[in-house]
């Protein structure tokens, strides 16, 4: 039995199976739609691989000495001097860096913590000796599954796209009904919009009113996470309702569409 098996996977068989012609013909057999779906599913991987793991916790908008209430929702003032700590110059001596760095050579230091000062630029020599308290990971994320610089873009995108591919496959095989398939993704999209929109509006109101609460970092974290669900969910929504989406351009701009009208009683150019 073993001999038969080894014969089957002999070198020659493998070579012929993995031959250029065989691979080419196998690739040609895959429909263009599936190729596009496969290509689309690799986007998050590429995006994640290009993202830097070490990120600056200095002001992401490049502001210096941003006064209260701050130009953005990330305003934080632990030392109570009325300036956003992120916009102030940090001294390397106060950080928990394993290597000692100086203010002249901040870009070469390696961080063991959150990377404070890794990309810092000394823009105001007067403040070079200012004491700034190091941000703890929880300050940015609210202890909710990731630090402020790690918004889990890749895992969430992968989960959503993977989930869609599974339900799409089940729907194509007839295991999942069309209505159920649509309902699942419409509900997820609604959850994404409600969560992202709700947290966004709350954050905007808090910033406008100058209210700073301990919940702000958590709100920002969940705003970003739910926005990922919203964006990927919207792209899936466009894929599910691609025919009415194409019709939209035809109705508004007169572009030609290849889709055929099946039901003459149906409202033209709408999905329902």
């Amino acid at each position: 039995m073993m001999e038969g098996f080894t014969r089957k996977i002999s070198k020659d068989n493998l070579r012929s199976a993995l031959g250029k012609e065989n691979l080419k013909s196998a690739l040609e057999k895959i429909p263009l739609k599936e190729k596009l779906l496969l290509a689309a599913s690799t986007i998050p991987f590429i995006a994640a691989s290009t993202m830097s793991s070490s990120c600056a916790t200095t002001c992401p908008y490049g502001m210096v000495n941003d006064p209260f209430p701050g130009q953005c929702s990330r305003y934080i003032d632990l030392d109570g001097d009325g300036m956003c700590d992120l916009s102030q110059v940090t001294t390397a001596a106060q950080t928990t860096d394993t290597t000692t760095t100086t203010t002249d050579d901040t870009s070469t230091g390696t961080d063991s913590g959150q990377g404070n000062g890794a990309h810092a630029e000394v823009q105001d020599p007067v403040d070079a000796n200012a004491t700034t308290i190091q941000d703890t990971p929880s300050m940015d994320s609210g202890n909710l599954g990731g630090d402020g610089n790690n918004y889990l873009v890749l895992p969430i995108s992968m989960l959503i796209i993977g989930g869609y591919l599974v339900t799409h496959f089940l729907f194509k095989k007839g295991i999942l009904k069309r209505n159920k398939h649509r309902r699942i993704w419409n509900l997820l999209l609604t959850a994404g919009y409600l969560g992202s929109g709700g947290t966004g509006v709350i954050l905007a109101v808090l910033i406008n009113m100058g209210i700073r609460t301990a919940l702000n970092p958590s709100l920002i974290f969940w705003h970003v996470e739910l926005s990922i669900l919203m964006v990927v969910g919207t792209l899936i929504h466009l894929h599910i309702y691609r025919k009415p989406f194409r019709n939209m351009f035809r109705v508004l701009f007169g572009f030609k569409s290849n889709s055929r009208r099946r039901d003459p009683n149906r409202a033209e150019g709408t999905s329902k």
């Binding site: 993202m51 830097s52 990120c55 600056a56 200095t58 002001c59 992401p60 908008y61 490049g62 502001m63 130009q71 953005c72 890794a118 990309h119 610089n149 918004y151 873009v153 209505n179 309902r183 419409n186 509900l187 609604t190 919009y193 929109g197 966004g200 509006v201 905007a204 109101v205 910033i207 406008n208 970003v224 926005s227 919203m230 964006v231 919207t234 009415p244 989406f245 019709n247 939209m248 109705v251 508004l252 409202a267 033209e268 150019g269 709408t270 999905s271 329902k272």
Partner: protein
Amino acid sequence: MVYDLVLPALPFIGGYLFTYSLYRMDLIRKALHINIWNFIIGVAFLISGGAGFLLLLFMEFGVKLPINPQLLYWHVELGVTLALVTIFHFHTYWKSSKTMFFPAKRRVKT
């Protein structure tokens, strides 16, 4: 930076009421009314989502650009518009939205 939450929403509320009344008075087709607002929600999504994604990337890479505060401002403003137009979207597709939240079987009166 103070964000306007009400002012940018007013033209959209007025616009929706305008096209909706035109459709109700049979002056425009339903498809046109729906597609205008589908297009607006798409544009708001593109700008707000695009700006948000760019800001996220800039933060990840530690990129500081002078346009970042403007990008954040328009992300918030268009985000407010997107939230509002999403409510209109639910109103437009109310029948199927109802089915989504409450399946047809549950809505049958006993």
